[in-house]
């Protein structure tokens, strides 16, 4: 055991030593350009790091247990602090902190961003920090848990909070580069943000008003529709139940734009429906669908399944005996529904509403395709960054506003609703029959759901056939594979397989990014879930809130914040594949985390403790006991993060580059050019690829039969 502890110490100090002596310190540096070489050559500020590495290595050899030695804590702390200070203190073109060039004259020449050496030095120091903390009783001395927490906190700080802080500071930077509150105040009070002209009839509304109006309408319609769907599925013998549940999955695997494009194809000025209506009723075709009506339609279609699932789970959780009690007391079905069912559902309705509201504010894909001149925050941010006038300050200010709105909604949802929910599920069996739905309400629900079903069918019909006919937008319906061929043509010739199609690059990048980010997201998410559910450590509540908070940050804001944070040294990684992967990992983290926490809540904690008392460290406990028992959650996290990585657009649109383009960004380009058929064809391929990949994952992760063991609680079950 003791020898083993010594070895772990050697791994971190060895890694640190290698990173300062052997690896290129700077981004794009030559093999020999280590911190030592660079330091000797004039960049003297790197030498303290070399000294820390040497001293730490000496300590691991010289002391019996370096982890508890005071000097180790001091060295690790000083090393980390200096690594960060010198990285941010000396920028690409010179000192970022005034005065540093007096200490190090060579700093005036600046330094490039972190390379392999610097990154690994950071990892090694964080590892050593975890060891030092664990030796002092952090995480009950479990080094694996300590390392996980320290590592995840460091990663979250770097990839979630640092960009947001950087973004906020960018909001205060004037066009001439100076820092002051005036430009922020000027931007945030501008009329094009807050004008209520459209309501009073004097022109257009401000972009904030637009966003909020859209959010409220969209959330209200989506919640109403979700309620109707949930009531039909949970409380009636409606025949299309299965179909309704299936429909709820569709938006998750549908790339953005597709629904928007389908709506244009149906209702645009030359749209299928528009033309028919014009012929039959003599209505002049117009562009009415561009703007609020179009976005609203697309968003309700996209969010209704989410609200449906939220309300359905609440509806199914209502103990039927409550409704039975009401009936036995003499209440008619309508009265029971009004006085018992409805009040119990209210928290879920509010939760669904807020969820849809947040999603609507964060939505970028539908707004950009269908928005027309109806500006919302997410599109406005986009045009401030990629438009003709690159204005990061403006984008940052709008992002801060958008962030404030979503975080406020998120806060209301977690704090206020967290207390208001009535959980009526108990361990006892609730053998009751659900109350019959009042006829009136049933038919109202059917009336609400029917148009939704027809509409969804129409949209997906367009998606199915649109890619395989000449031009669906003009109703030229002759079948063709031309669009697919434009995107994915290839040739097998003398020089092997050659890919000519215009979409291959983005498709391959997308697959790479998804394949890299899905396991990472799942791994970190499940690990985080395990830490939150099972470990007690100082600062746990803040840790939990921090991880969940990243859920409330809209994709557009993440995109802009990554540009603000990672365009310059020490961490310059825009334009790489890694920034795409990292972006997805930290955006999707909360989903894996929630799946993990839910699964862990079902598993008796003493099984892990048993494993510990038999000698397993944190990593073994996780591998031997936890992971085999939460396989379904792992699968969910994996599939979700993979699918999201393939279909998300809002954050990546800022981060793609010519070299690393993604499928969704490519499709958006086609939509902007009006090449709808190509966009639809590519989307169809994308959805097919996703289905195949999910099937493969199902095979790989496998759902090993748990036999007839239904209880994973480890409790005794007397034999029959």
């Amino acid at each position: 055991m003791k020898a083993f502890e010594g070895r772990i110490g050697l791994i971190w100090s060895g890694l640190l030593l290698a990173s300062v002596l052997a690896l290129p310190w700077f981004k794009g540096g030559a093999i020999g350009a280590s911190a030592l070489a660079e330091g000797v050559a004039g960049r003297a500020w790197l030498l303290p790091l070399v000294a820390v590495a040497v001293a730490l290595t000496a300590l691991t050899f010289l002391t019996r247990n370096w982890r508890v030695h005071q000097a180790a804590a001091a060295l690790v702390g000083a090393g980390l602090a200096w690594l960060i200070l010198q990285g941010f203190g000396i920028g690409l073109r010179g000192p970022a902190l005034p005065g540093i060039e007096l200490l190090f004259p060579a700093a005036a020449a600046g330094q490039p961003g972190f390379g392999w050496g610097a990154w690994l030095a950071g990892v090694a120091l964080i590892g050593a920090l975890a060891e030092v903390l664990a030796a002092r009783g952090f995480c009950r001395g479990e080094r694996f848990a300590a390392f996980s927490i320290v590592g995840i906190v460091a990663a979250l700080t770097l990839f979630v909070f640092f960009p947001i802080l950087k973004l906020m500071s960018a909001a205060f930077i004037a066009p001439d580069g100076t820092l002051s509150a005036l430009p922020f105040l000027a931007r945030i009070t501008a009329a094009d943000l807050w004008s209520v002209g459209c309501l009073t009839g004097a022109g257009r509304c401000g972009v904030v008003i637009n966003s909020v109006v859209l959010g409220v309408l969209s959330a209200a319609f989506a919640t109403a529709l979700g309620l109707a769907l949930a009531l039909l599925v949970a409380r009636t013998d409606f025949r299309m139940k299965r179909a309704l549940r299936a429909i709820s999955i569709l938006p998750i695997i549908t790339p953005p734009f597709v629904v928007g494009v389908a709506i244009i194809v149906l209702f645009g000025r030359t749209g299928v429906v528009t033309v028919e209506v014009a012929e039959w009723f003599g209505v002049r075709p117009s562009r009415w669908v561009y703007g609020l009506p179009g976005i609203l339609m697309a968003q309700v279609l996209a969010f209704a399944p989410v609200t449906f699932l939220v309300i359905l789970s609440a509806l199914e959780a209502i103990n039927p005996t409550l409704e039975e009690a009401s009936t036995t007391l003499g209440a008619r079905p309508v009265t029971t529904f009004r006085t018992v069912t409805w009040p119990l559902l209210r928290p879920a309705l509010a939760a669904a509403f807020l969820l849809a509201f947040i999603e609507s504010l964060a939505d970028f894909g539908n707004a950009i395709v269908l928005g027309g001149s109806y500006d919302v925050l997410s599109t406005k941010i986009f045009f401030a960054v990629v438009g003709a006038q690159y204005d990061l300050g403006q984008a940052a200010t709008l992002s801060v506003l958008l962030l404030a709105l979503t975080v406020a909604a998120f806060w209301v949802q977690t704090r206020w609703l967290g207390r208001a929910s009535y959980v009526t599920v108990t361990g006892k069996s609730d053998a009751g029959l659900v109350a019959p739905m009042p006829l009136l309400i049933k038919w109202a629900a059917v009336a609400a759901v029917l148009p939704f079903v027809i509409f969804t069918a129409g949209v997906y019909m367009i998606v199915l056939i649109g890619g395989f006919v000449t031009d669906i937008a003009r109703l030229e319906m002759s079948p063709t594979f031309g669009h697919i061929w434009t995107a994915f043509s290839f040739e097998v010739g003398d020089r092997g397989l050659q890919l000519f199609g215009s979409a291959w690059d983005s498709m391959i990048t997308t697959l790479w990014v998804s394949a890299l980010s899905a396991p990472l997201t799942m791994g970190i998410g499940i690990l985080t879930a395990w830490l939150i559910a099972r470990q007690d450590f100082a600062g746990k509540r803040a840790f939990e809130f921090g991880t969940l908070l990243s859920f409330a940050i809209p994709g557009t804001v993440v995109g802009v914040s990554y540009i603000a944070a990672f365009n310059v040294p020490p961490i310059d990684m825009t334009g790489t594949l890694w920034i795409l992967v990292i972006c997805f990992v930290f955006r999707n983290l909360p989903v894996g985390m929630r799946a993990g926490i839910a699964a862990l809540a079902q598993i008796d904690r003493s099984m892990e403790e048993a494993s510990q008392t038999m000698g397993a460290g944190g990593g073994r406990v996780l591998a031997d006991v936890v992971l085999p028992l939460i396989r379904p959650a792992i699968f969910t996290a994996l599939v979700y993060s993979f699918v999201t990585a393939m279909t998300a657009v809002s954050a990546v649109i800022f981060l793609v580059s010519a070299r690393h383009n993604m499928a969704t960004a490519y499709i958006m380009g086609r939509v902007e050019n009006g090449e709808y058929a190509l966009a639809i064809a590519y989307s169809t391929v994308l959805m097919l690829v996703m289905v195949v990949c999910v099937a493969l994952m199902n095979l790989a992760v496998g759902r090993r039969k748990l036999g007839r063991r239904t209880a994973v609680t480890g409790t005794a079950q007397p034999a029959q």
């Binding site: 055991m1 030796a135 009783g137 009950r140 001395g141 479990e142 080094r143 008796d604 003493s606 099984m607 403790e609 048993a610 494993s611 510990q612 008392t613 038999m614 000698g615 397993a616 460290g617 073994r620 031997d624 006991v625 085999p628 028992l629 090993r704 748990l706 036999g707 007839r708 063991r709 209880a711 994973v712 609680t713 480890g714 409790t715 005794a716 079950q717 007397p718 034999a719």
Partner: protein
């Protein structure tokens, strides 16, 4: 005296402001079965988890086999634990469950499995190695849990309310099995329960805990017959508490005097219901008489207050309303305050 197997030295465990364990000192001898007994929230389970390493003390030291393990995680200690829910791994066979510990600690797989078979044989589970835990009865699962805890010859085996998931009728049998195994393997054992009868039956010594502190340590007989405080007197078995005054070695309360050594001043005496004898006729009166099959229980209104009396079934029975006189021998009372 030889080195204790387990030692608590001024151990404190706090969660925020609340103390679960508020300073305990205790030595557990090798081969002894020590029970932590107390009402819920008294700190007995926390104390057990402090030995296991599933909690680390806020202050003080925990020593196992003479070594300070206060900062060692559970995985670095050599303890076996039987959990309340057994915590058998549902995805592993019985054999894999028992071989898990040795395998984790580096024993080659074949050897680990051979050792596991051996232990399973000794606890009477031979032939069930390939089953999954869910395919065993409650009693069998319990034995697997015990086998898994002792397979590594731990310094100490910990039982966390091991009978709470066992059918009431089986409890006596399982409890005797545990005791027999502990003696056969000469294990140091720490046992946690809130059931005083179980504690009396199974222990060499009992630690009674109250609000994070040790109230009394002693053999079952000592605790039952010489409780140190009113809390212990009424927590273990039934007790009649009589308040009065001691003056020059004589205890006086309304209607009774007894020779009780000790300091003068206010005093509380404890007397067990079965130590009180009743004679027909006298100043006291039977209020209720309850037939309990193995004994009669009477609630008697005496001058010192209401007294619970328990008499063997073969004695002449008394009826409610009857006048009686109550007799207490000085050797049968304990001064508890």
């Amino acid at each position: 005296m030889t080195e204790p197997a387990i030692e608590f030295r001024s151990v404190v465990k706090r969660y925020g402001d609340a103390s679960a364990v508020a300073g305990i000192d205790l030595a557990i001898a090798k081969g002894e079965l020590m029970t932590f007994l107390g009402p819920s929230g008294c700190g007995k389970t926390t104390s057990l988890r402090l030995i296991a390493g599933l909690e680390l003390p806020t202050e003080g030291q925990v020593l196992i086999a003479g070594r300070d393990v206060s900062r060692d995680p559970a995985s670095a200690r050599n303890v076996g634990m039987v959990f309340q829910s057994y915590a058998l791994f549902p995805h592993m066979s019985v054999l894999d469950n028992v071989a898990y510990g040795p395998a984790i600690r580096g024993t080659p797989k074949a050897q680990a499995q051979a050792r596991a078979r051996e232990i399973l044989d000794q606890v009477g589970l031979a032939g069930l190695e390939a089953r999954l835990p869910s395919e065993l009865s409650g009693g069998q699962q319990q034995r697997v849990a015990v086998a898994r805890a002792i397979v590594q010859q731990p310094d100490v085996i910990l039982f966390d309310e091991p009978l709470s998931n066992v059918d009431a009728k089986l409890r006596r049998k399982v409890r005797e099995e545990i005791r027999a195994l502990q003696r056969r393997f000469d294990l140091t054992a720490v046992y946690v329960t809130h059931d005083q009868e179980e504690a009396l039956a199974v222990s060499d010594r009992i630690v009674v805990m109250d609000r994070g502190r040790i109230a009394q340590v002693g053999t079952p007989a000592e605790l039952y017959e010489r409780p140190a405080t009113p809390f212990i007197a009424s927590f273990i078995g039934d007790a009649n508490l009589i308040e009065g005054q001691v003056v020059e070695g004589r205890f006086t309360a309304p209607g009774m005097t007894l020779d009780v050594p000790g300091q003068d001043g206010p005093a509380t005496l404890s007397i067990r219901p079965e130590r009180i004898t009743l004679a027909p006729g006298g100043p006291d009166r039977v209020m209720t008489a309850t037939y309990l099959g193995s004994r009669m229980e009477y609630l008697v209104a005496a001058q010192v207050g209401e007294m619970l009396v328990s008499r063997p079934i073969f004695e002449p029975r008394l009826a409610a309303g009857q006048d009686v006189s109550l007799h207490i021998a000085a050797t049968d009372v304990s001064r508890v305050a």
